[in-house]
């Protein structure tokens, strides 16, 4: 836990959010506020995972819902059909992420698919899964999705208290942040950034670009799939449009980019800015003006992209080399 000795605004933000989580666990906040905090942590978690492959390594994915869907459907289907606890479901979700990395990442990285072409292949892969989930509706419940039965059994990670879920996602997020920070104190962190900056120059200094890209995608995918499993556990309901959609992929990416995908705290910052604002707008105006939230979201993105092209964390905390 060396990084606890660190100082600086990004570190204080991290401490502040943990304080927010602890206070929400102690105080009895309204259910809905709690829900928004959980959702914000969930997006923080997913966007931080996305940043590993897309922010640090520079391989922009617009198909991360692929991993979310893999994780959430793996967990949900095992519970729904075989009554297997999500605790084991998470392990299967991790396996699914590994498998998807083999199917999507390995061939494209081996063939040297780069830049926009990699982005399009992730996007296409996620769309394929989306339509597969709809097509195999006898198993997946199609567009209507799957409603899972609630038994209130803690062994199945079903709790009456919303706060338990907050604790769960907050721990997941903390674990992820610690691992991401550890990566940046090791050689692999330097290598990922080198690949982002210039692949050919990276090869020239002896970096096996293929190997490190696969590692980054694997790590990112595993975290994201666990995030998908959490979605199933929390909502007890999944559908293609909630976990496999293009919109989710975009949301994960924009959240990270708005906050700053090259900094460890950036994606989290983005999540805690965008999620509450969007939730508020949706509740306040959504029923009357269905498209207004999206318009506001669009304006928010344009505004932030203009004032801080490398994300809010760079803008607010003053830019410095991620590797120092």
């Amino acid at each position: 836990m060396m990084f606890l000795k660190e100082k600086g605004p990004d570190f204080y933000t991290y401490i502040f959010l943990n304080a927010v989580a602890i206070l929400s666990l102690i105080l009895s906040l309204p259910e809905y506020i709690l829900h928004v905090i959980i959702l914000s942590f969930w997006y923080a978690y997913l966007s931080t995972a996305w940043a590993i492959i897309s922010g640090y390594t520079g391989q922009i994915s617009l198909g991360h819902s692929l991993f979310v869907a893999a994780g959430s459907y793996a967990t949900a289907l095992l519970y729904h059909y075989y009554n297997i606890t999500p605790i084991l479901g998470i392990l299967v979700a991790i396996l699914a992420a590994c498998l998807l990395t083999m199917i999507i990442g390995v061939p494209s990285f081996k063939l040297g698919v780069r830049g926009p072409y990699f982005t399009f292949s992730t996007l296409a892969a996620a769309q394929v899964l989306y339509y597969l989930l709809i097509a195999y509706s006898q198993i997946t419940g199609g567009e209507l999705g799957l409603s899972l039965k609630y038994m209130g059994n803690p062994l199945y990670l079903q709790f009456a208290e919303k706060r338990t879920y907050l604790l769960m996602i907050c721990l997941l997020w903390n674990l992820e942040i610690i691992i991401v920070k550890a990566i940046f104190r090791k050689r692999i962190g330097y290598y990922l950034v080198a690949i982002r900056e210039d692949e050919d120059a990276a090869t020239a200094v002896g970096i096996n670009v293929f190997k490190y890209k696969v590692l980054a995608l694997l790590l990112s995918g595993i975290f994201t799939a666990i995030g998908g499993a959490f979605y199933t556990i929390y909502f007890n309901y999944i559908s293609p449009s909630s976990v496999a959609s293009l919109q989710l992929s975009f949301q994960i990416a924009t959240t990270a980019l708005v906050g700053g995908a090259r900094s460890w705290i950036g994606p989290t910052l983005g999540a805690f800015l965008i999620t509450p604002v969007m939730e508020y707008v949706r509740i306040r105006f959504g029923s009357q003006y269905a498209t207004l939230p999206l318009m506001i979201y669009g304006f928010l993105l344009i505004f932030i992209a203009n004032i801080a092209s490398l994300g809010l964390s760079r803008f607010l905390f003053k830019g410095r080399d991620e590797l120092k």
Binding site: A202, V205, G206, D321
Partner: protein, 244 residues
């Protein structure tokens, strides 16, 4: 000076780009600890030769042997692990990273520990008188400093064989001499085998053991620098009659 056995052999290498013969049946050997200069007009295949040796380009024919091992077509990062390191004619630093991070990235290849790598990188920067600029981004450096960084990064990889593609191009005479001093010092201290592609023939002649002249993908002269520079064909295609 006598040299034992070749550390690097290029055997009958051919490389075609469409109808153009970039390398036409090239064979050469580098001996342990030797410093060889390669000269020749633009387009004569000098950089292609480096590209083939370091794995950036696969030859159409022929082979590259390093210390008895066939390394033809091995990817660049594996060539680096064999100790074969190159610099680029147009420098290729990580532009948005600091000078220190740039050198560290090379050091990390042999030294996994980040803190130790930082120490080593700082030492290398001192060699080049660049320690004051360690926190600057590489894109903010002037050309001579970028050239130095390119060289420093190659050294940080701890090469056995170093292939340098026009390190002196565009450098002021003082900077060029400083780079040459470093090359001399390197040979004495680390016994690295070096191949330098260079247009600044007079500077090159001061430090090399042997010189090779290329034209149109072929070797046209080989030997001591005075022999090569007095070779009539070299004068005709490259140096020009007014060279003397």
């Amino acid at each position: 000076m006598t040299f034992r056995e070749p550390v690097l052999e290029v055997k009958n290498v051919c490389k075609f780009f469409g109808g153009i013969k970039a390398l036409d049946d090239i064979s050469l050997s580098l001996f342990d600890g030797e410093l060889v200069g390669v000269i020749g007009p633009n387009g004569s295949g000098k950089t292609t030769l480096i590209n083939v040796i370091t794995g950036y380009i696969k030859p159409d024919k022929g082979s590259v042997i390093c210390m008895g091992k066939d390394i033809t077509g091995l990817p660049p990062h594996e060539a680096v692990s064999m100790g074969i390191v190159r610099t680029f004619q147009i420098t290729r630093p990580f532009k948005e990273l600091s000078v220190l991070s740039n050198v560290m990235l090379s050091v990390l290849f042999r030294e996994r520990n980040v803190e130790k790598a930082r120490e080593i990188a700082l030492n290398i920067l001192k060699w080049f008188n660049l320690e004051d600029k360690k926190d600057l981004m590489c894109k903010d450096l002037n050309i001579p400093d970028q050239k130095k960084i390119e060289f420093a990064r190659a050294l940080a990889l701890d090469p056995k064989i170093l292939l340098m593609d026009e390190v002196l191009a565009g450098l002021h005479i003082e900077d060029a001499k400083r780079i040459l001093d470093i090359i001399r010092k390197l040979r004495e201290e680390r016994k690295i085998t070096i191949l330098i592609v260079e247009h600044r023939v007079k500077l090159l002649a001061e430090i090399v053991d042997r010189m090779i002249a290329m034209n149109a993908g072929r070797i046209i002269a080989e030997g001591s620098s005075s022999d090569v520079l007095n070779n009539p064909e070299v004068i005709k295609v490259y140096l020009g009659e007014g060279y003397k």
